[in-house]
Amino acid sequence: MKHTIKELEDIASQVRRDIVRMVHGCQSGHPGGSLGCADFMTALYFEVMNHNTDFNMDGKGEDLFFLSNGHISPVFYSVLARSGYFDVAELATFRKLNSRLQGHPTTHEHLPGIRIASGSLGQGFSVAIGAALAKKLNKDSSLVYTLHGDGELQEGQNWEAIMFAPFNKVDNLISTIDYNGQQIDGPTEKVLSLDNLQAKFEAFGWHVITSDGNDMDNIVKALHYAKSLTGKGRPILNLMSTQMGYGVDYMVGSHKWHGTAPNDAQLESALGQISSSLSDY
């Protein structure tokens, strides 16, 4: 372990503060999914991945991460800044004119840590599989990680990629689904049910594991276990249960905070619930 679980929890707490402050600062953006994935993203960047903050696009010899559900950019930007890709002060520019921190992540502004634009949903699996194939061609034994929303799986392109990866033995890929059961118009069960996701991925040939994405100890263990499953001929799918808005009581579990920014009073309430372990940007 590079960090103790407590240390990771503290970092995740600071990431949560960053998220609500960023979204409040521009009065737009997506706090719900960002808060739900703060523990996972912290675990990935501070504990699990072997990565180099001296960024280069090709990422040879290091693990790569692709965010498919680009709307949770606040958590991505915060974790990148907190792990050293760029100055945390830049988080204050989120979604503002001339910022490198666009509403959805992009390579266009050359922000270190971003390797593909995402926002239009359903494209991350394909991109990650391509990058994983490049690693194999380069005889590079490092891994590719991804994160996807659950509602995002309603996009058809996913299933083209989900079919491709096991057939082609893309076994250097660990994909995580943010299984929070919420999307913009309501619970996924009401909008378009995902039904039994585990059975679906298994039927396509993935090795599926489950985890609790809001339990740091559990998610770290799950990701280490996922790593141990790589190189065995199958891609790994981490079906990670989370709560949208986790960490802020009035946001938890509700799709209403998918894409809504807190007002001043709500921000104060949120920050009162999340301790600052490092320091605010």
């Binding site: 040879k60 394909s126 391509g130």
Partner: protein, 318 residues
């Protein structure tokens, strides 16, 4: 009129296949992806010689474009292969976000463009692809005219860093450009120097423009003919220089008149040197089943249409 002859006809897609094979030999980072159309795209030689670098994606074009974008991360140079319709319209958002906006070094190679696909009909005959691709910021759009030029273009885009749309076709057409040509992206190719009217053609229409030039010569009209193989970036200097000399222009393309080469030329001229222009292009229509020749005649893309357009535009010239 400079004399152009040919001893052989061949499909431009075979030029792509030969170019891809050669590209694979020259650079070990070249990777080819195909959506269940290996034979149609003439990718067999590459696939046979470099099986590790050939990726059969199945009938899943969106995934193919996304994977191609991902392959560039790690230094690969992916060439995707499917029909023009499935290379563009079907995957526009994937190209837009994962390739163009992300500025990935992906080569989107598209066969069976336009009416000359023939009997399969309108579902497969895309006439909107140039427009779709040229509207994407940073996208290079290339439509070569014969086998040799398509092969040369395929090798030229290997050495160019950035997203490219390479458009070619199915029918056998005369080979009239040299095998050893120096293909320069964005550089117009002067086919024939003339003084009365400029004919700007792309793809399969370049040979028809040559035939039209010969017909016009018999009528005493001295046509300047320019092969615009690169629609974006457009060789504005060459076009302006020519139209400043001739004072009028005909554009010819196997594409809808909306969104194609003709509109790019019109935009340039309207801002820099307004001049009468006639469009030889499909008149905002889908295609249909038929032989390539029948279709080119029915939809107004024959040699005679270029001749008539030249005569019409000359009447409008001041």
């Amino acid at each position: 009129m400079k004399k152009y002859t040919y001893t052989e006809k061949k499909d431009t897609r075979s030029g792509f296949g030969a170019g891809l094979h050669e590209a694979g030999k020259r650079n070990e980072n070249v990777v080819a992806l195909c959506a269940d159309l290996k034979g149609s795209l003439k990718m067999d030689d590459f696939a046979n010689e470099f099986p590790d670098r050939y990726i059969q994606v199945g009938i899943a074009e969106a995934n193919m474009i996304g994977m191609a974008a991902g392959l560039t991360i790690g230094g690969k140079i992916p060439f995707t292969g499917t029909f023009a319709n499935f290379s563009t319209g079907r995957v526009y958002d994937q190209i837009r976000q994962s390739v163009a906006y992300s500025n990935k070094n992906v080569k989107i190679c598209a066969s069976h463009a336009g009416l000359t696909l023939g009997e399969d009909g309108a579902t497969h005959q895309i006439l909107e692809d140039i427009g779709l691709m040229k509207m994407l910021p940073g996208m290079t759009v290339i439509n070569p005219c014969d086998y040799n030029q398509t092969k040369a273009a395929t090798l030229a885009i290997l050495d160019y860093e950035g997203p490219v749309y390479l458009r070619f076709g199915r029918p056998s057409v005369p080979i009239f450009t040299p095998a050893d040509q120096d293909f320069q992206i964005g550089k117009a190719w002067m086919v024939n120097e003339g003084k009365d009217v400029t004919i700007i053609a792309t793809g399969h229409m370049v040979w028809k423009a040559i035939e039209a030039g010969e017909e016009l010569e018999k009528l005493g009209i001295d046509a300047e003919i320019i092969n615009i193989h690169t629609i974006k970036p457009l060789d504005e200097e060459a076009i302006l220089k020519s139209v400043q000399k001739t004072g009028c222009v005909v554009t010819a393309e196997e594409h809808n008149k909306f969104g194609g080469l003709g509109e790019s030329v019109a935009r340039l001229l309207s801002t820099q040197f307004p001049a009468p222009q006639e469009f030889v292009a499909v008149n905002d229509s889908f295609g249909e089943s038929g032989t390539p020749d029948e279709l080119m005649t029915k939809y107004g893309l024959d040699t005679v249409n270029i001749v008539e357009a030249a005569q019409a535009v000359l009447k409008r010239k001041k």
